[in-house]
């Protein structure tokens, strides 16, 4: 049944208008990915208000294309300027920048883009076949199962996120609290407004994303005195084809990276660990590991393949379960709700042309994207030659317009500024921002799932353990929550010193 749906999807995705939208999206997305302060999540959030009047399918194609573009853009800054635009590009700088300094930036960029494309393509093919199956299973889910899955989503940030588990948990709680401000649609009561009419509308996740990621990132950049000391791009068709001739040698690395990426990316926050894991594996299995970190092409292939496989895989739970796997996917999910679509498995039944149009557009968007970045790299690199004193206020103005456009309200621009300061402080103190955004987006959905479950059970929490699927997921989620507490104890039991792993992190 998969293939005829995909054909239907391509009929939607290859209309001239939608191809044009995808082109614009990839172009904008790459610019967004290259610019400091404008990551994928933030770029999608700023442009979301512009899509309110579009047909939903074109709107989601625009937003996903921006996402693909932003993923490609991150690689450009990593290789040429040693500045990872996104956390999952960090591993790309290890070998990308040394190669660029040796005058081989053309090879490095070609390898990065090609690997990104391969990783993304692998995940898209898997999504094409897995999404309908997963949606079919998810159709049988009730509120307890959905709440359990949401619990699992957040628990993986705490247990597998890698940061300070307490601070991750505090971020999640803060997101949920911000989401609950305003009118409670179930009882009609006002919550946490304390008589202020401005608080009645609550906090919009779009404004929060723009402030936390956009303004916060600019504040961090000026504090660190961001300087672009770039190297030449050195891209031309000859270099591209010569690099392509070499790349099949890394076939195993491609496959390993894709699998790691898809497996990790399916869970939230997975792209960054996936890129590091893939890099580590490539180094371990390489015939010349000593060359890693000094400009080894394989050291670019491994993290880029995994990061993009993960970035695309994050779309799978968003489409089938209504659970976004990344902040960008969270913003898109918010978009679905605004466009009047119900995220989750019913999407496959009620709006097949939307879902399959989106999946087909992943193929077209990534093909367009890789061709575009390969040809336009000098243009994108030139953007970073613009002085920071011009870029910074320009980005602030764009962020302000995006925030205001959501509800045409002035207070949102103030919120943007406040979220910017919060983002700056949180980032410095190692509070992760992604779970906060996810909680803010999912807040109402999670609370409703919890309430409906409790209504079904008459108030008992047993309902999360009585139903087989819910029980398994809940137990795994609780295990993840407890993981940071268990790990040091487990290590001590095995005779490994706990203090080495629990050293305070300074970032």
């Amino acid at each position: 049944m998969g293939l005829e749906n995909l054909v239907l999807g391509f009929q939607v995705a290859i209309t001239p208008f939608n191809v044009f939208i995808a082109l614009v999206g990839v172009l904008l997305g790459t610019v967004i990915g290259v610019l400091p302060g404008l990551g994928g999540a933030n770029g999608v959030a700023i442009l979301l208000p512009l899509t309110f009047t579009m047909p939903p399918t074109s709107a989601i194609i625009l937003l996903t294309s921006i996402y693909w573009g932003a993923l490609f853009g991150g690689a450009i800054t990593s290789v040429l300027f040693n500045i990872p635009g996104e956390p999952w590009s960090v591993a790309t700088t290890f070998d990308g920048y040394p190669l660029a300094k040796q005058g081989q930036s053309g090879q490095a960029l070609t390898a990065a883009f090609t690997s990104s494309f391969v990783g993304a393509f692998f995940s898209i093919v898997l999504i094409t076949f897995f999404a309908p199956v997963l949606a079919e299973i998810a159709l049988k889910f009730g509120p307890p199962e959905f709440f359990a899955i949401q619990l699992l989503t957040f628990s993986s940030f705490v247990g597998l996120g890698g940061g300070n588990p307490l601070k991750s948990f505090a971020s999640i709680l803060m997101g949920f609290i911000l989401a609950s401000v305003g009118l409670d649609i179930v009882t009609g009561q006002l919550r946490l407004t304390f008589g202020f009419t401005d608080l009645m509308k609550g906090f919009d996740f779009i404004v929060a994303v723009i402030g936390l990621f956009g303004i916060g990132e600019i504040l961090l950049s000026v504090e660190e005195g961001l300087r672009f000391q770039g190297t030449r791009t050195g891209m031309n068709p000859r270099v591209v084809f010569e690099t392509w001739r070499v790349l099949p040698r890394y076939f195993r690395t491609f496959v390993r990276g894709s699998i790691i990426g898809f497996w990790m990316g399916f869970k939230p926050g997975g792209a960054t660990p996936a890129s590091f894991m893939s890099y580590a594996f490539a180094k371990r299995f390489s015939r010349n590991p000593q060359r890693f970190g000094k400009g080894e092409l394989e050291g670019i292939v491994a993290p880029e393949t995994a990061a993009h496989a993960a970035g695309v895989a994050a779309m799978l739970p968003m489409l089938t379960l209504g659970i976004p796997g990344s902040p960008t996917a969270a913003v898109m999910l918010g978009g679905l709700i605004i466009w009047g679509l119900q995220p989750g498995p019913m999407l496959f039944v009620d709006n097949p042309e939307f879902v399959w149009g989106l999946i087909a557009s992943m193929y077209t968007g990534n093909v367009l994207g890789v061709l575009m970045v390969l040809t336009l790299v000098p243009f994108f690199a030139a953007i970073l030659k613009i002085p920071f004193a011009v870029l910074a206020p320009l980005i602030v103005v764009v962020c302000a317009i995006g925030s205001y456009a959501v509800h045409t309200s002035m207070i949102d621009i103030w919120y943007m500024l406040i979220f910017g300061v919060i983002g700056y402080v949180f980032k410095k103190l190692d509070y992760p921002l992604a779970p906060l955004v996810l909680a803010l987006v999912l807040g109402d959905l999670s609370e409703n799932a919890l309430r409906q479950s409790l209504i079904m059970s008459g108030g008992g929490l047993g309902i999360f353990f009585n139903r087989p699927i819910a029980a398994v997921i809940t137990v795994v989620a609780l295990l993840f929550f407890a993981l940071p507490a268990i790990t040091p104890w487990w290590r001590r039991l095995r005779g490994v010193s706990a203090s080495t792993s629990a050293a305070p992190r300074e970032t």
Binding site: M174, I215, I218, E223, V396, I401, Q452
Partner: protein, 159 residues
């Protein structure tokens, strides 16, 4: 770093307290047909208070004494924040006064920042400060029909 960590945790603790207070007002138990409005916020607040208490202990025990931010690194941050606040006030000040609208304010703000921090030539500054608002106006007001706050200049031009 430790002091900043403690202050932030204290702020979150305060947030938890405020939420707790409002949740008890709304009712934290069983309402008419299901959990009352305050049920979910109440448990969020309880967990937040417990978590931030943990963070504070952690920060006090093994927080680093490295400063959160040095004075010379804070200056550029404040130089960004100040003009942004000014930009928002000029766009549309809180209270009964009317502002210049977003486009004019954006032009002024960009010009100020480019000149003050970037020390760019007046010609460059003027060109960018006019071009960006005009392009933004065409994209948002004309193409996508997203209205922004407008002021006397747009009135005078007849929009």
């Amino acid at each position: 770093m430790r002091v900043a960590d403690l202050i932030t945790a204290l702020g979150l603790l305060g947030l938890g307290g405020v939420v707790l207070y409002d949740a008890t007002r709304l009712g934290i138990g069983w309402g008419g047909e299901g959990p009352a409005s305050g049920f979910f916020p109440f448990w969020l607040a309880v967990l937040l208070i417990v978590t931030t208490a943990g963070i504070m202990v952690q920060a006090a025990v093994r927080g680093s004494t490295r400063p959160f931010v040095t004075r010379e690194r804070l200056v550029p941050v404040l130089k960004v924040l100040g003009p942004v606040a000014g930009f928002i006030v000029v766009t549309d000040p809180p209270g009964p006064w009317s502002g210049l609208g977003l486009y004019a304010a954006a032009g002024l703000y960009m010009a100020f920042y480019m000149r003050w921090v970037g020390r760019h030539r007046w010609l460059t500054v003027a060109a960018i400060a006019v071009a960006v608002p005009v392009v933004a106006f065409v994209i948002f007001e004309q193409w996508f029909l997203v209205p922004m706050p407008k002021g006397p200049i747009e009135d005078w031009l007849g929009y």
